[in-house]
Symmetry: C2
Subunit: 553 residues, 2 copies
């Protein structure tokens, strides 16, 4: 009998790059193709994606790519994936709209097959029968997946929260999940992002009272910054602006684009006469306007940072402005956000932060939600996904300690590259592959080999010395003085004579060495490089990259 | 009449690098010489310090350097400062011991004059009379300063919390502060680090109950990680270990060194037979041992990270271990700490985090403490210091709204480089200097010019191409094929023929150009560089650094 294999390519033990292969026999579907946020940005890298080369061995088996929702950590690698494996894509209409935006940047729209599916649709893809289950999250049109396979049913939650009163659309469809639970679920693959957070995640509606209070108090302009994809939040701002007779001006490219997509799809309910263009907004009184802007993470090219430093299309933060930062701080952005807040204060703006008022709620299930999920689905096995190892581990611990019937035996922690084999009864990790990740330079829409990043790191860490010597092809004697240039190296300057000494020392070596030793030009260059390296290290203590070139004339 | 000038060199509008000049006539004292934690670490930088060049103009006026306490952000720049201006240093014995450690790394101990002072000592330094006031903080032997000047008294808090029950030593000496307050204080320069935090900062003693519970529950080994300078915390661990019949093994260089210093000075009360060496510790049962280790910030070279990854002197994290992270997360370290925690979980360790249990308290005054401080000193003016602009601003707002008698008029926000002029009645900013900062490579104890860092950034961001051509000195015609090397550049590989084309194109240019144009070798190199740059950019879209060398033979 054939067995089922679960093979995560990303998103397990890390934040971002969510991607999972599910294989039965010679068929394999992929769930999500997300990007990550690497620490290698100083080296010309914008995003990271799973290294899809791993799938080369399965190229003939791949049948479909299913997207659970439209966040970048679930669809951001889509163009790169489809360039390698042009599979049909299944997703909701909002997810597809966001995916199309990315695909069009890569000019790929005409070359891919996109299937729009709706909640409770079922796609039969070979041996897999996939039902799309309406899920609540911080954006809309999200799915959890019920995947019937020949060995049993899998539930893949995607990202979710259990929101009984979302601002837009229906509550999470727990009923359908429960139906699968009653039938019997083999494995639940569940979001762990907030597995360290106690209690329940508040509804998207929970921010309304604080927003109302802030709008009631504000006498000047209101500036709201949030993620452009957080449609519930955008709707809240529209509704409350309308209630307080303020008009809304949307600023920042991604915010405008998402607004356009969402209103085209009828996902946002825009009160009549609420939206306003920037030009028109300038003629309104301060208490008649809300600017809805990008840049809640302190991004230096986003609208909010530019406003705070007074450079956004003539718009600046001024005394009397109320700035609402309606988003969480993504780890790593603390310093930038603190600078942003300082800048806003400097210009006289008042800041409302998430820490101090309930103006933001998470899109992910907290511990009590995880309990509800597990008890609704009652799977034979639970596999925590989406999160750093810390979250996956705590997800497991929480279920072990708070949901009856779950032990170390049936909560399984896996890592990227593991092959988790399932028959109807047992689940075990049978193999591990090193998947790794690829780095992308988005300006050029291209992959950067890690070897290139390694070289950049070295250059950036300690700088560069180039040395050129020209020697006679026959005698191997110097034809002119060695030339040395220096970039980014500490401890070398025209005054301390180091370069002078280095040139002299290199010249001496060449003079003293028998020409037989230098028959090979590359060998000669390498010998001189090592000599210069030792000398520089001795004199300055540093180890710059040294490029040594020998020219034979 | 002469006026007093307050000139902050660092620590205002940023975290770290605390340093302030106080000048009257031709006399100037400096309070603290701290280092900072720059974001430029990928470029071979370890720490940042204020650019002391600004003080060159005052070199003859400088009379003394006063250190408030021994944290790196207050003394870390000491060697670099003293190399430029060899002033006498005034500090407490623990502060001096930590300072001596740094000075000895720089082999400067014999060349500097260190004055040990105690609480309530008064130093008369020219026109300044400075009383050292015992302050409570997360380490010991800390001072606030009362500085009598000809125009009035300044109170400089240093870092402080108002701890009425510290673990080591006496409570904050509010009585002396009040005495000055009663006499009349012209200006209070006060720590803003926690000015965004409501309520009062708990006493260092507040962590004891949680520690006791954790020790009572733990059946295996206990590993406590905290800052090596947090002496109160170290004492708590010693006491509770003793109470629970565990012995303490201290690991990690800075922890061992600080332990040694503190016990030499009699600052730690080490219960008999409590400390134990690593070797001996191995023979103890798991429930008889506490490891006190460095690395609470996930530093990759510290003891805890090495233990977590199983490489610290044969010691690894094992099932049954309880790891107590008794420190706050310094912004920017989130990812590293999350990885550390994941690694510990993976090896079976249990983690106690600050967020979940009261195992860490801040060393800085919260809002209610700030209120107590302000009301005790009742200064004419308040100047928030130590913190990013966000904290300084919130410090001001808090006092304005919660302490009677303070308004925009007498709470003054200053920036690094401002000259705040004081006579007995008025305070105003009369000038601003751009001070900037210097970057230090600690391995070589040397400064790195920002220009060098800028060059490293460029190299690191997009990589390097070197091109060498040898031409005839007379005819300016090529003597051999152009040589090109590539490091860290994306889009160039042996297969795509780009280098081949580039060499050819360069050769053609040289052939086609009249020799008159190339009389200047550097001009020729620059012309070829620009040509190659355009070509690479056109073909690959990237802009690597290009080093072009022309050799005339």
């Amino acid at each position: 009998m054939n067995k089922l294999e679960i093979i995560p390519l990303g998103g397990i033990g890390e934040f971002g790059m969510n991607c999972m292969g599910i294989r039965f026999g010679d068929e394999m579907i992929i769930v999500d193709a997300g990007m990550g946020f690497p620490e290698e940005t100083p080296y010309g890298v914008d995003i990271s994606i799973p290294n899809f080369d791993f799938l080369d061995d399965y190229a003939d088996d791949l049948t479909a790519l299913i997207l659970t929702h439209g966040h970048e950590d679930h669809i951001g690698a889509l163009p790169y994936f489809l360039k390698k494996f042009n599979l049909p894509v299944y997703a909701s209409r909002f997810t597809l709209a966001l995916a199309e935006k990315r695909l069009s940047e890569h000019k790929m729209l005409d070359d891919v097959l996109l299937h729009r599916v709706e909640a409770n649709d079922v796609s039969e893809i070979g041996s897999f029968k996939i039902e799309y289950i309406h899920a609540s999250h911080s954006l809309v049109d999200c799915f959890s997946l019920a995947i019937r396979t020949p060995v049993g049913t899998l539930i893949h939650t995607g990202d979710y929260k259990i929101d009984e009163t979302p601002v837009i659309g229906k509550p999470y469809d727990l009923k359908t999940l429960k139906k699968y639970g009653d039938e019997g679920v083999l494995m639940l693959l569940a979001d762990s992002t907030n597995a360290t957070v106690a209690g329940r995640t508040p509804s998207e509606r929970a921010v309304i009272p604080a927003f109302e209070e802030i709008f009631a108090d504000a006498e000047g302009r209101i500036i709201v910054s949030t993620f452009a994809s957080s449609l519930h939040r955008l709707q809240v701002v529209l509704d409350i602006a309308h209630a307080f007779d303020r008009r809304v001006c949307v600023l920042g490219r991604s915010m405008q684009k998402n607004f356009e997509i969402a209103s085209d799809l009828g996902l946002l309910d825009i009160p009549h006469n609420t939206l306003i263009e920037l030009g028109e907004s300038r003629s309104l009184d301060d208490d008649q306007i809300v600017y809805l802007v990008t840049g809640s993470q302190g991004e230096s090219r986003a609208a909010l940072w530019n406003m705070a430093s007074g450079r956004y299309k003539g718009l600046g933060i001024e005394k009397g402005d109320t700035v609402i930062l309606s988003a969480r701080i993504i780890p790593g952005n603390d310093r930038a956000i603190s600078r942003l807040i300082g800048e806003i204060y400097k210009h006289g703006g008042n800041i409302i932060e998430e820490k101090r008022r309930l103006i933001h709620v998470s899109g992910h299930a907290s511990q009590e939600d995880i309990k509800i999920m597990t008890e609704t689905v009652r799977p034979k096995f639970v596999v925590p996904i989406h999160g750093e190892y810390r979250m996956l581990f705590r997800h497991k611990e929480f279920i072990k300690n708070h949901v009856e019937g779950y032990t170390d035996e049936n909560i399984i922690l896996i890592e990227n590259g593991d092959v988790l084999e399932l028959d109807g009864n047992a689940a075990r990790i049978v193999a591990h592959n090193d998947i790794g990740k690829s780095f992308i330079d988005e300006a050029h829409l291209g992959e950067i080999d890690y070897e290139i990043i390694r070289e950049r790191k070295k250059l950036g860490f300690s700088g560069l010395i180039t040395m050129v010597v020209a020697v006679d092809r026959e005698t191997k004697k110097l034809k002119s003085e060695p030339q040395i240039t220096v970039q980014g190296v500490a401890g070398i300057n025209p005054l301390n004579g180091l370069l002078q000494n280095a040139r002299q020392s290199i010249a001496e070596i060449i003079t003293e060495t028998k020409r037989d030793k230098y028959q090979d030009k590359n060998f000669m260059a390498e010998t001189l490089r090592v000599h210069l390296k030792r000398m520089i290290q001795q004199e300055t203590g540093t180890k710059p990259v040294i490029v040594s070139t020998v020219v034979e004339v």
